[in-house]
Symmetry: C2
Subunit: 153 residues, 2 copies
Amino acid sequence: MTLDLQPGQKLARGVSRHLRGLGFVSVEEFVPARGLRVDVMALGPKGELWVIECKSSRADFLSDAKWQGYLDWCDRYFWAVDVDFPTDLLPPDTGLIISDAYDAEIIRMAPEDKLPPARRKAMIQKFATHAARRLQALRDPGAALFDDSGDEG
Amino acid sequence: MTLDLQPGQKLARGVSRHLRGLGFVSVEEFVPARGLRVDVMALGPKGELWVIECKSSRADFLSDAKWQGYLDWCDRYFWAVDVDFPTDLLPPDTGLIISDAYDAEIIRMAPEDKLPPARRKAMIQKFATHAARRLQALRDPGAALFDDSGDEG
């Protein structure tokens, strides 16, 4: 099963496993707003929202021009990289997670910048919608025909 | 795929498909509070929460002593039954959906009794957690070992 995953997806899997131990659930490829797509959006037991961008290589990191746009959509922002990644490249005011396909560890906690309540509420609703749609897609592929919109939620 | 489903699960699948056309997402076997488990919890685009109990037979309905306890956890309450079900049995102040494994139709809209805002917020967070956990369970069965609790969310 792991063999089918791209490098970034392996990192995301380990991150999601580790976060689950902290009481967080996660979804991948979450769209907080049009034109933005985060690798992992995690939701904590008190409604905390963390974004984790997974970078499998130096080039993968350097080609990302959008990451600062994600800061407005979470309480904490992390990078997830593998153990060989040159972490000196990463901006200091962000969180750092070392990950592989099987588990992960938070090396540096991200600073907290709390979302406004209305945005948090909208994001949790969107998270719920995203997760339920993906779940239904796996359980009942035929359901997609009933979709009311092209939105990928 | 349909052949593996129990009668109640077939009804639930048709209900979830139909609701998707109305912009609602759904999860099955949702636990709003300890000791309660609803067949389908649906979440609408404005945060509406609907409970749908699926009854495959007269006996299945008559043996349900808990349904009134679900009214406190949703804005609208529906029964979903197949076309042969004796619908005269069902209480008049509830919604009615006729369903099969492939689609469904709302025959009688349920009256609205809006959730208090704090409970709605808690339920949407719980819905998000439930959906994300079930999704992760299908995508990465090994993740269950990382769970922080025995809670089935």
